[in-house]
Amino acid sequence: MSTSLPSLSPTAEPEAAAITRFQEQFAALEAAVGQVVVGQEAIIRQTLIAMIAGGHVLLEGVPGLGKTLLVKTIASALHLSFQRVQFTPDLMPSDLLGTTLLMDDGRGAHQFRYEPGPIFCHVLLGDEINRTTPKTQSALLEAMQEGHVTVGGTTRALPQPFFVLATQNPLEMEGTYPLPEAQMDRFFFQLLVPYPKEEEFEQILERTTSGHKLETQATLGGDDLLAMRALAASIPATATLRQRAVRLVMATHPESPYATPEVRRYVRYGASPRAGQACLAAAKIVAALAGRAHVASEDLVAVAHPVLRHRMMLNFEAQADGRTADTLLDGVIAAARSQWSAEV
């Protein structure tokens, strides 16, 4: 086929270089985490995507899959402050947010002084977040959405970037408190951590039983993350793509005309507009990782499951029939693809 193609336009060089740098930084981050965490590439990748997008991640998996290790490793790979909080039933909001103490200055005078809690960090690991009470869970709402906390009538900004990486165990229901819907919606992604593959399992055994202590080299700082976020946000998304994102989210609403029959049958409430924002933001990062100068429909599909699965509230019939949000989303995505193809 004879074709004359243009040479690279000089005006495209900065963007091309920025995209390349973005890809390199992301790859470096992935590699750094991969030095410690065996396998779980998709989880690592999606966690990093959420963090670049400025979102919080809820990691769900049975004990022993390396959730906590993953979060700790990511925090280590970044020049960011890290705090870990083990959520227990007796954990109080002040244990997270900090408290105002009456302090003696040594000269006989007393004054109130605010003692910041562990939330004042860049990366907060909320281990087993569903073990604490809703009261304490709700203490995170303001921090996760607004990036600041209010204690004693004073609002204090959290360091930026600020991430909450929480874990929870789906098996043990005894003594747990399911996260309220408002809090679930504030998590950018919900990631389901799978069991490692056989060869990965072997590597895990080798690394953890040989006595070597694996350490992670910090590769990026907070400013780098913010720059990557800004670059991704600047990638254009066309009107058609925005429309597709909206319809994809609306398809999770049982009363929507775009809903599949299964969604109409099994879903009580669909995803919120925040899901659409998360979807497009994450899709832009996926586009940047693919080296594209624009967002594609496949980018939306790539992030649909982690963005939407925890934002859909299923009814009892769904539980009785063994339906999960992911199986319903498979149908939603298939229907969306069909619709896109039919536009030809």
Partner: protein
């Protein structure tokens, strides 16, 4: 090929991309054209199948619009294909089709609606598109071929069209033959009607009955209706004429003196020399009765002072008086007066002077003559109604030649009686009293004594020929006409056969014999 305005508006700044886009647009049109070809052929196939079914289910009359519908189907298919081929794709349409070939990524779609605010990314997007296009093997990755389903659809459309054309041709030929047959049948019927009308005109020129002459001379209005080829109007005209004939027959029946014929015959036979008159009355042959009455009157006038004997004069007088009363009750004043006068004279004596009897006999002669004319009119009316009835059957679709006409002109030329007598009712059962065409002579004349014997002088019964000169002329004309018609080579075979059958039916079986 020119791109659509939208595509032209997407200036990539590079001829290579635009050239590739144009090539893909051509391919897009070809692909759409093939898809449209399949749809068009399917539509034509279904349409042709439906038209074949319609043609099969409704064999007559729909050929014109079925042909037109078939043509419109093909024309519509051609127009659709032309429209599809000449309709360039928009960049969005092209993008939706081409992007999957470029490995997904919505590259072309993104460029087709690139947001103004993100212009600085455009160069990179174009560069990436160019890279993809460079790797694209259009011929292999976007291969175009005529699908088997399209070939089948096109084949089915052609076959069904051929079937429709062949079936339509057969149907057209059949329809043509049917129309020709209908036309020939119509012409035959019109010719038949014309025969009747000409017969009537001829009769009108020959008859002396003014009422009949007037009626049959008006047959022209029926010809006008027939000439308009409007069977309904012709039927209406036939109905009107039939009503007139019916009224004429009713009038004849009401005024007829035939019911008194037997009584009058019995009474008149009692008069000496009036046996032949009585015999004629018994035959209901009022024409002969009129002649006998005239002859009797002349004989009486020849010997005015002589006397005519009356047998059983008292009884005869009573019979005549009773008959006169009956005639008077029916309003037949002339007959009542004549019979009443004769009754009074017979009552007085068994012999009457001839001069006193002569006026009554002349009066009777007039009555008999009028009755003969009336009966003739009634008979002509009956024949005319038969003809109208037959004509109606022909116009309604009866086969020509099934029931040939009885010609008015042939049966009774110049108002003479045809010789078929009726007993009392001219439309009733025929009596074997005196067959048509028989001439008889009584052995006993007026004024002579003794029973008279009836001698047959001539008998043309069964010949069916006209009794007068006009009938012979008409017969000759018909024979000549039939020969000419049958020998005319330009006539269609069906016509010749119908004409031959017609003339053979109406032609007398036996040539008229001389008395």
């Amino acid at each position: 090929m020119a791109l659509s305005p939208e595509m032209s508006g997407m200036d990539s700044g590079d001829d290579g991309i635009n050239r590739e886009l144009r090539a893909m647009a051509v391919r897009w049109r070809r692909e759409r054209g093939l898809a449209a070809l399949f749809g068009a052929m399917m539509a034509v196939s279904v349409g042709m199948g439906v038209l074949c079914l319609i043609l099969w289910l409704s064999p007559a009359g729909n050929l014109g619009w079925i042909t037109a519908a078939g043509g419109v189907l093909w024309l519509g298919a051609a127009l659709v294909l032309w429209w599809v081929w000449h309709r360039p794709p928009t960049l969005r349409q092209l993008a939706l089709r081409v992007d999957p070939l470029l490995g997904g990524g919505d590259r072309l779609l993104a460029l087709s609606e690139w947001p103004q605010a993100k212009e600085r990314w455009r160069a990179l997007a174009l560069q990436q598109l160019a890279d993809r296009l460079k790797a694209l093997d259009l011929a292999n990755q976007w291969a175009l071929s005529l699908p088997l389903s399209t070939r089948w659809a096109a084949g089915a459309a052609l076959v069904l069209t051929a079937v429709l054309i062949i079936a339509g041709g057969v149907q057209w030929q059949r329809e043509e033959r049917r129309i020709a047959h209908q036309q020939s049948v119509l012409e035959e019927r019109l010719a038949l009607a014309e025969e009747v009308l000409e017969d009537w005109e001829e009769f009108a020129s020959l008859t002396e009955d003014e009422e009949l002459k007037t009626f049959f001379a008006e047959a022209g209005r029926l010809r006008e209706k027939l000439a308009e080829h409007d069977p309904l109007q012709a039927m209406v005209a036939i109905g009107q004429m039939e009503e007139q004939l019916k009224a004429m027959a009713a009038q004849v029946e009401g005024a007829s003196i035939a019911p008194h014929a037997a009584a009058m015959a019995g009474a008149l036979e009692a008069f000496e020399g009036m046996g032949a008159l009585g015999a004629a009355l018994r035959r209901n042959d009022f024409q002969a009765a009129s002649r006998e009455a005239a002859r009797g009157a002349e004989a009486l006038d020849g010997a005015p002072k002589a006397q005519t004997a009356i047998r059983r004069h008292a009884i005869t007088s009573e019979t005549l008086a009773a008959t006169a009363r009956q005639a008077a009750e029916k309003g037949q004043k002339g007959l009542a007066d004549a019979l009443s006068a004769m009754a009074q004279k017979a009552k007085a004596s068994d012999k009457l002077e001839n001069r006193s009897l002569s006026p009554s006999l002349r009066a009777l002669r007039n009555e008999f003559s009028q009755e003969a004319a009336r009966r003739n009119r009634g008979r002509m009316a009956a024949i005319g109604r038969d003809q109208l009835n037959t004509l109606r059957q022909r116009l309604q679709g009866g086969q020509p030649g099934e029931c040939p006409f009885l010609s008015l002109a042939q049966t009774n030329a110049a108002g003479q009686q045809a010789g078929r007598a009726s007993g009392g009712n001219p439309f009733g059962d025929e009596k074997e009293i005196a067959p048509a065409g028989r001439t008889e002579q009584a052995s006993v004349g007026m004024g002579e004594e003794g029973d008279s014997e009836i001698t047959t002088l001539s008998d043309t019964q069964g010949s069916g020929v006209a009794s007068g000169e006009g009938g012979a002329v008409a017969l000759g004309d018909y024979v000549e006409l039939s020969r000419r018609a049958v020998n005319d080579e330009s006539l269609p075979l069906a016509h010749r056969r119908a004409i031959r059958t017609y003339f053979e039916r109406i032609r007398p079986v036996v040539e008229p014999s001389s008395p």
